[in-house]
Symmetry: C2
Subunit: 210 residues, 2 copies
DNA sequence: ATCATAAAATGACCAGCGGTCATAAATGAT
DNA sequence: ATCATTTATGACCGCTGGTCATTTTATGAT
């Protein structure tokens, strides 16, 4: 019976169409300033229908962020392919992340949005949490890379790989977040995007690569 | 004429009373879940009056965060007093910041809240921006400390002091933000608060202290 | 083709929110 | 006592995220 399968596909397609519409609206107006009515209109569906596919506005936003994660992950995968040492891969991942924050600003902002939210207060399913953190997520690739670097002697040992991984991730996101949100006062301090990134990279190079 | 001064004092006191009330409400319920009506009730004033003293809910929240900044600043001031080298002062500031995030969680969360907001979209006065970033703010103390460490040879040179300052600040906030928001998945990775902080400190020690 | 059942979609509706403003009360100068 | 100015009020507004009784559409058995 192919009907069940077709219906399943159509359901998934509709889901994607709603995400498409939400992306247009959220990216155009900003998440906070966008309304579910706008999303419904863009999707040419009623608001009630949107809520058949997503249980809240935040849930829909998460779906967009998940797309961003996927893009970032693929980008990282490509960037480390063919590189030898863990340390070099690490640097490639860093550059990748930074590039992502420029080339896919809208998705990056979606990721940042959830970075500032307490996981416990987000009502996520097991699957959502798993996909974002555990499965082959960007952060797991980073951890594998770090373990690789510790094995091949290119990355300092002595700190647990998992701790180092999440610390690096957090530091990098912190820097990118400041670049995103505090641009306005950069002139006051005579700093800019590039100098912050260079400082960050230099600290990490000396701090964890041996 | 002492009446104008008395009125000025009373106005300022009322302002502080409103912030007191808002703190109680926001800290109890969380900023997003709190309403201006609740604040008004707690302050035993009408909502309209609140809006005579603060131009928006966010403006009121900022006033709370500013108190947090003040506490952090004083704490930093005390912690660096009597310490010799820039590098040692730097470490003291780091510990201070981390302690602040524990001992004054509510204020710390207020700071984090604005860390995730784009400055340009916040409608802040010149004074608010100046006080938060320029005056003798925590970040300026950090910069002075770094310059001191560069002079006395305890901190690596080669990177502009201002860039290094803001990078350090951003990295540290990033780590504390992850600790705050991602606790829920720490078990999944076998990490915890302390191991992340240790990694962070170790990276910085090797990365910038010489 | 007809019809009963189930699945999908609708949009009027709701409570709560941040924010406003015409009005009223309190205060101080005359 | 009178009046002008400052301070305070709370009813009111528009908009939002979210719900749900109702309708429309698709399906499979007859």
């Amino acid at each position: 019976m192919g009907i069940a399968e077709r219906k399943e596909r159509e359901k998934e397609r509709r889901r994607q169409e709603i995400i498409d519409a939400a992306e247009k609206v959220f990216f155009r107006t900003g998440f906070d300033q966008s309304s579910m009515d706008q999303v419904a209109e863009e999707a040419e569906l009623s608001k009630g229908t949107i809520y058949l596919y997503f249980k809240s506005k935040e849930d829909l936003h998460w779906a967009i962020a998940a797309r961003g994660m996927e893009i970032l992950k693929e980008s990282i995968r490509r960037s480390v392919a063919g590189i030898r040492t863990g340390a070099e891969k690490l640097m490639a991942i860093g550059r990748c992340f930074i590039e992502f924050s420029e080339k896919h600003r809208d998705y990056f902002l979606s990721l940042l949005f959830f970075e500032g939210k307490n996981l416990e207060k987000l009502h996520l399913s097991k699957k959502q949490v798993h996909d974002a953190f555990y499965g082959d997520s960007p952060i797991m690739i980073l951890q594998q890379t770090i373990e690789e670097g510790m094995s091949d002697g290119s990355i300092r040992t002595g700190l647990p790989a998992a701790s180092l991984t999440h610390t690096l991730w957090a530091q990098t996101l912190g820097v990118l977040q400041v670049i995103q949100n505090k641009k306005e006062v950069f002139d006051l301090f005579g700093i800019d995007r590039e100098s912050l990134i260079r400082s960050h990279i230099e600290i990490l190079r000396k701090g964890i690569i041996q």
